[in-house]
């Protein structure tokens, strides 16, 4: 037989030639690079997929100092966050399947890409999420129940943004990048940058995905941030699928390299490596707080589940691709590493598992018993101040509702 034997994995890879491997017969209209499984030589990584530490290289050594600051307690905290966030997510998924939520966007596979920056942020730092940033929300202290309330449709947003410096979820793709830059420019004008006071200096972190990079808002935000030298970190979770559109329909140059064109540094980090995601985020946030301007971080990760509960990914991607990424699981590698280092043991893991069960029970019950809000509430926050048009509509609606017998 003249065709070489190919395993499933090789078929997946050949469908998606990597930066290093490349496709020998690249046509004129094919993208120059299609990273599906391999982040390439520029990717910052500290933990390999098998849970072993990656030796120091030119690429990761600039960030190594931030890991030295991590004590065992912090390492355990990271793993605990990863496990609890995954449980919150799977509970959200199940609640949707049970009819309790209208929709749920799963973060399965992206836990490390979110817990890393989530833990790198200081309380005064402000996060502008998309709609999948349940892990960042967790680290910023937003109760998971609040996320459920929004997807259940019993409130407009679900939380007070200023309580935890975590902005409302933004469903419009990439929109929040502009909000973030605006906020960061406000921080500059408040003088909360480069004062040298660690409690005062503030950075802003804006989250989006690979699909978001195609949006006008995203590119406008990067232009403004660069020109204003704003204290903002753009954090792109490249999970490889913008619903059903793969990376090669989004860009020819990977997101981290596009930062160059805007005039600030870009770095690709292994988004399934919580240590690397944390260290790279720390560096970028400190740069921003110190008045050195924006950074673009591309977290190279993978959306293991569907885009949302309304999506069926088997229609557009092959299972062999998912299987490759299963072996890069962010939780497995951190657990393996900490067990091998003796930083956690089975008893500790069992404890976190019990904690996860209790958390799941708590948020499930909270979700199931959430009352429907009164109708008037939907008029309350359209404008900050009273507005005659809204007031008239609210009165009309109230009169209409009052016309029913029950």
């Amino acid at each position: 037989m003249k065709e070489p034997a190919l395993s499933d994995e090789e078929v997946a890879r050949s469908a998606a030639p990597t930066a290093t491997g490349g496709s020998p017969a690249r046509g004129l209209h094919e993208p120059p690079e299609r990273d599906m499984t391999d982040g390439g030589p520029d990717m910052v990584q500290f933990l390999a997929a098998d849970g072993t530490r990656v030796p120091l290289t030119d690429v990761n050594s600039p960030y190594a100092a931030y890991l030295d600051e991590l004590d065992e307690e912090a390492m355990r905290g990271m793993l605990r966050d990863l496990i609890l966030v995954r449980r919150v997510d799977s509970e959200g998924f199940a609640l949707q399947r049970q009819g309790e939520l209208g929709l749920w966007p799963s973060l399965l596979g992206q836990e490390a890409a979110q817990v890393g920056p989530g833990r790198a942020m200081r309380p005064q730092d402000y996060a502008f999420p998309g709609y999948r940033e349940h892990g960042v929300a967790w680290c910023k202290g937003v109760p998971p129940e609040n996320l459920l309330g929004m997807f259940r449709g019993v409130n407009h947003g679900g939380w007070d943004s200023n309580e935890n410096n975590f902005h409302l979820y933004t469903i419009v793709i990439g929109n929040q990048m502009l909000h973030a830059v605006g906020y960061a420019m406000g921080v500059q004008r408040d003088g909360d940058v480069a004062t040298g006071d660690p409690e005062r200096d503030t950075a802003v972190m804006a989250f989006t995905g690979d699909g978001g990079t195609s949006q006008g808002d995203y590119n406008e935000a990067l232009v403004f941030a660069a020109v204003a030298n704003a204290p903002v970190v753009f954090y792109v979770q490249n999970n490889h699928w913008a619903i059903s559109e793969p990376n090669d329909r989004q860009f020819r140059v990977p997101p981290y390299r596009r930062a160059d064109g805007f005039g600030f540094p870009g770095v690709r980090v292994d988004g399934n490596d919580v240590l690397a995601s944390y260290a790279v985020s720390r560096a970028a946030l400190e740069r921003a707080r110190g008045g050195e301007g924006p950074t673009l971080i591309e977290a190279f990760t993978y959306r293991m589940g569907a885009h949302t509960t309304s999506d069926d990914p088997t229609k557009y991607r092959i299972s062999a691709e998912v299987d490759i990424w299963k072996k890069k699981d962010p939780i497995d590698r951190m657990r393996t590493y900490l067990l091998a280092e003796g930083i956690v043991d089975q008893a500790w893991l069992d404890g976190v598992e019990a904690e996860a069960d209790e958390l799941a029970r708590r948020i499930r019950q909270a979700c199931q018993t959430m009352p429907n809000p009164p109708h008037e509430e939907m008029f309350e926050h359209v404008y900050a101040d009273a507005h005659p048009l809204v007031a008239r509509e609210a009165a009309e609606f109230a009169a209409y509702q009052a016309g029913f017998e029950d």
């Binding site: 199931q368 509430e377 016309g403 017998e405």
Partner: protein, 487 residues
């Protein structure tokens, strides 16, 4: 005991078919255990149960189509009444949230069970409206009276469906002049007709007119009239129809849905958009059968642990014949007015499954060696038999085999799978007399013989191409060693 109602697992889906129960009555379940697999218009979805407990009743059978919101399973949660607000979604008063602003509302202290309101339809949230918002609530008497008064004051606009409005307009009828017969005051087409007829014909009169004479001489059909006067009397006893009895229904009706519905739509669209031509060839496949036997028994081929069959050889032959006749692997794009040449073979295999006919395909079959093809074929068949074929497995096919021979039939005129241009039917392989020439002497000897048929889309495949393809296929089965030369 709480009932689990079929939720909308996607956006705005209204029904789903129960595919498989993962639990039975008496089974213990834990929260989020998968209890059932349902098929929606979009995909197969597994549903987790929201409580710990014991299954006491299963209310929907496998294969049944169920509307969203219908209870499908009952769980005994062990608390007797299932009234535990902690685990059962119960209605909670609106008032409790008044003070909660935009944050998560705090449940009221009484657990929310008790203001006598009917329970909220808890499981109906999707992007679509919840059921309670789509059912019409009754208006208060005063309010509706006021509305009616308002209605009376305003110039009267007749209520009617758009087609009826058009009908009335075409007939030159002012709808406000027509008296509606329906209670809700909506004017129907019949009302318009009645108005046109001058309003004279009352409903009962029309009804009477419709009663045409029914044949009254029922007796004519029975026994005594059966012997015609002039019939020959040669036989002493006239034919007596035996008394036949049938148990069960004379006709049964089944709703068309799921895979059957898909099959029907696909076949109608293919048959009536692509002009089909079918060609046949009878071929001596003795050497293919010998090859299959060798592959099965001779370990040196390394194929003894996979399923080897004549179908496998045909699958390989298809890939080779497509390579020699690539036009068979193209497709007509009606919208773009283009012919799309596929440079890969996603080989479809029509499979009879418990869910009906499905046509999963082997992706990039042309890149596989015989062993890989055997593994892929085995996986495809077992997945299809288990009813687990995913939509992605069925999409993107380029050419298909339908193995009708497994049912013992010789051939057929298959209908092309939509999105493709050719389909090959593989008939039963039989021992048949065959003329064989050895040393210039013709003899009739028993050989393994089968029939192949190919249907193709004549919009893009002409008779020459179709014939060459079929001849190549036959030649490969007649002498598989040609694959060495053509491969």
């Amino acid at each position: 005991m709480p009932e689990f109602k079929l939720p909308d697992p996607g956006e705005g889906l209204v029904e789903a078919t129960i595919i498989q129960w993962k639990v039975g009555v008496g089974d213990t379940v834990r929260t989020n255990d998968i209890v059932v697999e349902v098929e929606t218009a979009k995909s197969l979805v597994e549903l987790p149960i929201p409580w710990d407990g014991t299954v006491t009743q299963i209310l929907a059978q496998e294969g049944q189509e169920v509307e969203v919101g219908t209870p499908i399973i009952v769980i005994d949660t062990g608390d007797g009444g299932g009234a535990d607000a902690g685990t059962t979604p119960e209605d909670v008063t609106d008032a409790a949230t008044a003070a909660s602003d935009d944050l998560v509302p705090t449940p009221p202290a009484d657990g929310g069970a008790g203001d006598g309101k009917p329970a909220r339809e808890a499981v109906l949230v999707g992007y679509g409206a919840i059921e309670s918002s789509t059912t019409r609530r009754r208006r208060r008497g005063a309010a509706s009276a006021a509305e009616e008064a308002q209605d009376a004051a305003a110039p009267r606009r007749a209520k009617a469906a758009p087609p009826v409005r058009k009908y009335a307009k075409d007939k030159g009828v002012d709808l406000t002049q027509v008296t509606p017969s329906r209670e809700d005051g909506v004017v129907t087409r019949a009302d318009v007709d009645r108005f046109l007829a001058g309003g004279a014909a009352s409903a009962s009169a029309q009804h009477a007119a419709a009663e045409v004479a029914v044949p009254a001489e029922q007796g004519a059909a029975t026994g005594q009239a059966a012997a015609p006067a002039g019939a020959p009397q040669a036989s002493a006893t006239p034919y007596q129809r035996p008394t036949l009895s049938r148990s069960g229904e004379r006709e049964e009706r089944t709703d068309v849905k799921g895979v059957t519905k898909m099959m029907a739509q696909a076949m109608v669209s293919s048959k009536f958009s692509a002009p089909h031509v079918t060609e046949f060839v009878t071929v001596d496949v003795t050497r293919t059968m010998e090859l299959v036997e060798r592959l099965k028994t001779d370990r040196s081929y390394g194929m003894t642990d996979v399923k080897v069959s004549p179908l496998l050889v045909l699958a390989k032959a298809m890939c080779l014949a497509v390579r020699r006749n690539p036009g068979m692997n193209a497709v007509w794009d009606e919208a773009a007015q283009q012919i799309v040449q596929r440079n890969y073979v996603n080989l479809g295999i029509a499979a009879a499954t418990p869910r009906g006919l499905v046509v999963p395909n082997i992706k990039d079959a042309d890149l596989m060696d015989l062993r890989q093809l055997a593994e892929a074929l085995g996986d495809l068949v077992s997945t299809a038999r288990a009813g687990r074929t995913q939509p992605a497995d069925m999409s993107g096919g380029t050419i298909t085999i339908t193995n009708v021979g497994v049912f013992g039939v010789d051939t057929g005129t298959p209908i092309i799978n939509p999105g493709e241009s050719a389909i090959v039917a593989f008939g039963a392989v039989r021992r048949m007399p065959w003329v064989v020439q050895t040393d210039g002497v013709e003899q009739i000897v028993p050989r393994w013989v089968t029939q192949l048929a190919v249907s193709f889309d004549h919009r893009l495949i002409d008779g020459e191409l179709g014939s060459m393809f079929l001849a190549d296929l036959a030649a490969l089965l007649e002498d598989p060693s040609r694959a060495l030369v053509w491969g």
